[in-house]
């Protein structure tokens, strides 16, 4: 099976995600973009798993999904808290951590 197309799709998804993180101000959207990048990486791993006929890539994918789920729990909690205190989810407004 030819995995080229899966890889192209993965690259496109990753680049969309990366551009989303860099350009969008809304924290939720930036968060979704990060998820998109993670899933692009998952796709690559699954594709190669298929190509080589073993399960290493799929196992790795599960790890990524678990970590992503944990990250969502923490990340969303932070975003909700920031929204409550600052009435905004714009990442540009949360710029206090600088000298």
């Amino acid at each position: 099976m030819n995995v080229d197309n899966y890889l192209y799709l993965a690259v496109i998804l990753f680049v969309i995600g990366a551009i989303g993180v860099m350009l969008r101000r809304n924290a939720l959207v930036a968060f979704m973009s990060v998820e998109l990048m993670l899933n692009a990486a998952n796709l690559v791993m699954v594709a190669f798993s298929q190509q080589y006929g073993n399960l290493h890539g799929q196992v790795g994918t599960f790890f990524v999904m678990v970590v992503a789920a944990a990250e969502v729990v923490v990340g969303l909690a932070i975003i909700v808290t920031i929204y409550r205190t600052r009435r905004s989810t714009s990442v540009d407004d949360a710029n206090l951590l600088k000298l």
Partner: protein
């Protein structure tokens, strides 16, 4: 002078009462600890504790002395090892006491005269609110001085040596609210450090040469010492002795040390501490026996100092400074005797003991005069005090007769022996010592005339009065000692000391010898000259301006401070300022530049931390891209 290695008797181990010799040190040390650490609760009885410990110590010394008298001569030196201090390589340093014929005499002097001075201080310091602390320091001094004279090796001696230096510093600066007293204390401390340098180097050299600093080992191995090393060690010891005993060239601190309370001057700067240098030289007789050069250096230092001290004594108006100059001069005599060698050792110690009695007597007498004169020390404001302070006058007068050497008072015997020994060693030295005796008579007579006789010159506001009993009784006892000490010790002190210091006793003349006659003649001339100058006419209340270079030099302590300033303080000050400048400009400059550069760089670097999450994301992506690119390039290469 033939250089014969001296035979000294090895000490025997302590038994019986001698096992308690450490009590002599422990008592005043405990007193010092109690008075200085417990503090306030003892405020009202501090002076009693302080005096009692020293008198207790005197009791112990007296018992041991009586015991020693009962022993045969070769069994009188007792060693009492206490414990091992430390070991390093082949060296093993033990703390131990050596109670021999010489150290017991010192212990008696220190605790006896010290005890009397403690009692005197009860009255003298009665109105000082820091009296408890004063007695604490005095106890500390007595303990340290006893360590110094009872130690059985040079390192432990050095502990006492530094201890008395500390106590001296604390007591000279006791009235620290006076800037002059604080400065005098510092001066004494710093000048003593110069001597201590010699002392430590001598100990290092001994450890290197003999592998031990114990007196027993040093005495035993000194015969085989290389003459060059004997000279080096001897001169280093002499430097140490000069610092502690205020001998030329380290004499300048003693006159300023008179800023301390008068009992301190009597105890530390007349009777005991300043004589430690003489003790050191005599104790190190085995070294000096091996080096003619070092012995000669001791003789020269002693002779120069006895003349310098007497010279200063003639031209001071401050009663304590006259006595300080006199102390220097008398210690010069002792040094001279110690430098002569085996013929003089016993006389050095003899004069040291009699001097301890009569000089302490006169210092305390001066304190009694000051007590009655509202602490005025200027003799030009005294006059005719004999009528108002009769006890002080009589006791001081006996001290005066003792120091100028009127037979049969104590100074006559001890000083006469030294002058004779000096003539025996060299006519030049002998003549100088003889001149010194004449000058001594001159300035002491001047002191007596200006203080106790003549017309009264004090202002109406002053009401001279005799001191209380607690002060006059020690004066009477010391005066009694000044009278009888010479007669009492003359007959036996040489034989008594012989096993400890290796001197060879020779026949003591009871009737004046030709030299003795000559000495008395010179002394009489000195007294007459002094009366001629100061006794016939009234003494002006302010010192007359003088163009006489001898007087000007005397009033300025022979320019000792100026010499120190020019030779040491000035150059070292310039050096220090140069070093500070180099430190400020070169080292601080280099460090400062480095700091400024790094600070500037980090200020620029800080700008990248904008606080915008998206710019951080951009950095991360760019970084990942760069890493990916590098990996790719690596693959292709």
């Amino acid at each position: 002078m033939p250089m014969i290695p001296l035979e000294t008797v090895a000490p025997v181990a302590a038994t019986g009462l001698f096992s308690f010799a450490w009590l002599m040190i422990a008592l005043p040390a405990t007193g010092a600890l109690l008075l200085l650490l417990v503090g306030k609760p003892l405020e009202r009885i501090g002076h009693l504790i302080g005096s009692a410990t020293v008198l207790g110590s005197f009791g112990v010394a007296l018992v041991l002395f009586v015991q020693q008298l009962g022993l045969p001569a070769e069994a009188r030196a007792i060693s009492l090892p206490l414990y091992q201090w430390f070991t390093a390589g082949n060296w093993s340093i033990n703390i131990g006491l050596l109670v021999d014929q010489m150290s017991i005499l010192f212990a008696l002097l220190i605790t006896g005269v010290g005890g009397l001075i403690h009692i005197y201080s009860i009255g003298y310091m009665a109105h000082d609110e820091r009296r408890r602390r004063f007695f604490g320091y005095l106890n500390l001094f007595v303990a340290a001085m006893l360590i110094l004279v009872l130690a059985d090796n040079y390192l432990v001696l050095f502990v006492g040596w530094e201890g008395v230096g500390l106590a001296s510093y604390l007591l000279i600066g006791f009235w620290q609210h006076k800037p002059s007293a604080a400065a005098a204390a510092k001066k004494a401390f710093v000048m003593n450090r110069v001597g201590d340098l010699g002392m430590t180097m001598a100990i290092f050299a001994m450890l290197a040469m003999f592998g031990s600093s114990a007196f027993v080992d040093v005495n035993q191995h000194a015969e085989h010492l290389d003459p060059l090393w004997a000279t080096i060690i001897g001169c280093l010891l002499l430097l140490g002795a000069c610092g502690k005993s205020a001998q030329v060239p380290l004499q300048a601190w003693l006159l300023d040390a008179m800023e301390g309370p008068t009992p301190v001057s009597a105890l530390i700067h007349a009777a005991t501490m300043v004589t430690a240098g003489v003790y050191l030289v005599v104790r190190s007789h085995a070294i000096f026996a091996m080096s003619e050069t070092a012995s000669l250096a001791v003789v020269i230092v002693g002779t120069v100092t006895l003349l310098v001290g007497a010279w200063i004594g003639t031209s001071k108006d401050d009663i304590k400074k006259v006595l300080a100059g006199s102390t220097m001069s008398q210690i010069g005599y002792m040094m001279l005797a110690a430098g002569i060698g085996p013929d003089g050792y016993a006389f050095a110690i003899f004069h040291l003991l009699t001097h301890g009695a009569f000089k302490a007597n006169m210092f305390l007498g001066a304190g009694s005069v000051m007590h009655g004169m509202n602490d005025d020390v200027n003799m030009r404001h005294y006059g005719n005090l004999a009528r108002y302070l009769p006890i002080t006058f009589i006791t001081f007068g006996l001290g005066y007769l003792a120091i100028i050497g009127v037979p049969p008072l104590s100074g006559y015997f001890s000083k006469d022996h030294i002058i004779e020994a000096a003539f025996h060693a060299s006519p030049v030295i002998g003549s100088l010592a003889l001149i010194g005796a004449g000058v001594t008579a001159f300035y002491m007579t001047r002191l007596m005339l200006m203080t106790f006789l003549g017309a009264k010159r004090w202002p109406k506001s002053v009401h001279p009065h005799e001191s209380p009993r607690v002060m006059t009784i020690p004066l009477m006892i010391l005066a009694g000692l000044s009278v009888v000490a010479g007669l009492a010790m003359n007959g036996w002190i040489q034989e008594w000391l012989e096993p400890a210091i290796g001197s060879h006793p020779h026949e003591v003349e009871w009737l004046p010898t030709p030299v003795g006659m000559l000495t008395m003649l010179v002394v009489a001339l000195g007294v007459a000259a002094s009366w001629f100058v100061f006794g016939r006419s009234d003494i002006p209340a302010t010192a007359p301006v003088s163009r006489n270079p001898i007087i000007i030099a005397g009033r300025n302590d022979l320019f000792g401070d100026a010499v120190n300033q020019a030779l040491v303080v000035g150059p070292v000050g310039h050096l220090a300022r140069g070093v500070v400048l180099a430190d400020d400009k070169a080292i601080d400059g280099a460090v400062g530049t480095l700091v400024a550069t790094l600070g500037g760089l980090s200020k620029q670097g800080r700008r990248t931390q904008t606080g915008f999450v998206r710019s951080y994301a951009l950095t991360m992506v760019a970084g990942a891209a760069v890493v990916g690119l590098l990996l790719l390039l690596g693959q292709m290469a």
